[in-house]
């Protein structure tokens, strides 16, 4: 289908964008790479009066400061895929990025766009939650930082408020001995996940994030010293109280089964080094 009519505004500076968003409120949507937003417009799931294209604002790039890697909001998936810093210091991102759609989409889609939309089956929300990255947000009132654990609120709902722009994400670099696992099941390579898991073992803790199975990415923490059978049993019981929802292809019951399978695989991969 074709997108409904809208007007287009391309600010040259962040302040200009923020003033525009402040003035137009919900009538304006931020356009970054457009790889999700333009699809939803074509499907007429959304009909804003204005698109505010932030690609002219310098929010793109990957920088290292001490033990932090900061990735600007309009950095593309392809930028991340090709970044030596990411491969060396943020291995979970490097594991996840090949699963994000296809080359033709990775070349334009952005990290910030993915997090602002917060599709429950998308890879980046799960990854930032597994690493509890810091999400940087700007508005006319100033800047604030929200940790990923406090950022995701529900189906396509985040802590991002009207008039705000997500400007970047700060990740703590992985430490020696950290282990990472990323796996997703989808009907075709690059499609949204039917079920997926991002996991990181750091220090004494393992953080598992399930995605594609609920209304938002679901975090589950475990003690790395726990024996694997106990860890699994505890997870199975926790899974029963998680809100798992089915989609067109998999019922909630099937998704629970996939989640258990992914958890087992993650444990085995991470368990090899735990033991």
């Amino acid at each position: 289908m074709k997108a409904p009519g809208f007007k287009y505004f391309k600010p040259a500076a962040l302040d200009e964008a923020l003033h525009f968003l402040h003035k137009h409120g919900d009538a304006a949507r931020v356009l970054a790479g457009g790889q999700s937003l333009l699809a939803t417009l074509n499907l007429r799931l959304s009909a804003p009066d204005w698109l505010v294209d932030i690609s002219g604002i310098s929010l793109r790039g990957i920088t290292c400061h001490g033990d932090t890697v900061r990735i600007g909001a309009t950095t593309t998936h392809r930028d991340i895929e090709r970044s030596a810093v990411v491969h060396e210091r943020l291995p979970l991102l490097a594991l996840a990025v090949p699963h994000i759609a296809h080359q033709a989409i990775r070349s334009r889609g952005t990290l910030g766009g993915s997090l602002a939309l917060a599709d429950p089956a998308a890879e980046w929300p799960a990854v930032v939650l597994a690493l509890n990255a810091a999400i940087e947000i700007r508005s006319l009132e100033g800047s604030r930082t929200v940790m990923a654990e406090d950022y995701f609120k529900g189906l396509y709902e985040t802590d991002l408020q009207a008039g705000e722009i997500l400007t970047g994400i700060a990740f703590k670099c992985c430490s020696d001995g950290d282990r990472h696992y990323f796996r997703e099941l989808s009907r075709r390579n690059g499609d949204y996940a039917s079920a997926g898991i991002a996991a990181v073992r750091s220090g004494g803790q393992v953080r598992f994030v399930l995605f594609g199975v609920g209304v938002m990415p679901l975090l589950y923490k475990a003690d790395a010293s726990e024996a694997l059978p106990d860890m699994s049993a505890r997870f199975h019981s926790a899974l029963e109280s998680m809100e798992i929802v089915g989609d067109l292809f998999f019922s909630a019951a099937s998704k629970r089964k996939l989640a258990r399978e992914l958890f087992e695989r993650a444990c085995i991969e991470l368990g090899k080094v735990i033991d």
Binding site: G5, F6, G34, Q35, G190
Partner: protein, 169 residues
Amino acid sequence: MNSDDESTVAVTFRLNGVDGTHRVQPRTHLVDFLRDSQGLVGTRAGCEHGVCGACTVRIDGAIARGCLVLPAQLEGADVWTIEGLDGTGELKELQEAFHQCNAVQCGFCTSGMLVTASQLVVESSGDTPPDRAQIREYMSGNLCRCTGYQSIIDAVKLALRAKGNTSHD
């Protein structure tokens, strides 16, 4: 490049090597602009939400979905369609290989397949040539509704070999 009224924006970019300023409605996506305003109908409008890859074009040296890009976003960009790439001769080995391998059935997906494959040829000219699995992965964003995938992978592999950059598995 901002909307000066409700209907159109003016945007300047290079299309198949030719610079031009175009007046477009913001809502028009690139594939419709190419087909309806420029007569470049080699780029196909398939699913129109980024799934099928029939509208694949090259923008600033990387492939992109024509249905998920607005011409309004393209100020200063360098855009190549199947027609432009054909004109440069860049697709010669791929076209011959598609012909030789019978990698065309109805033909609807073919131009998108060729543009995607041309990018793989560009990106794999280094030391690590793609094997068959990597070719499959790279091409997985393009759907062939006739399901002629095996011969398409065969053709891409043959073309890469003709260019001298594939592993011999």
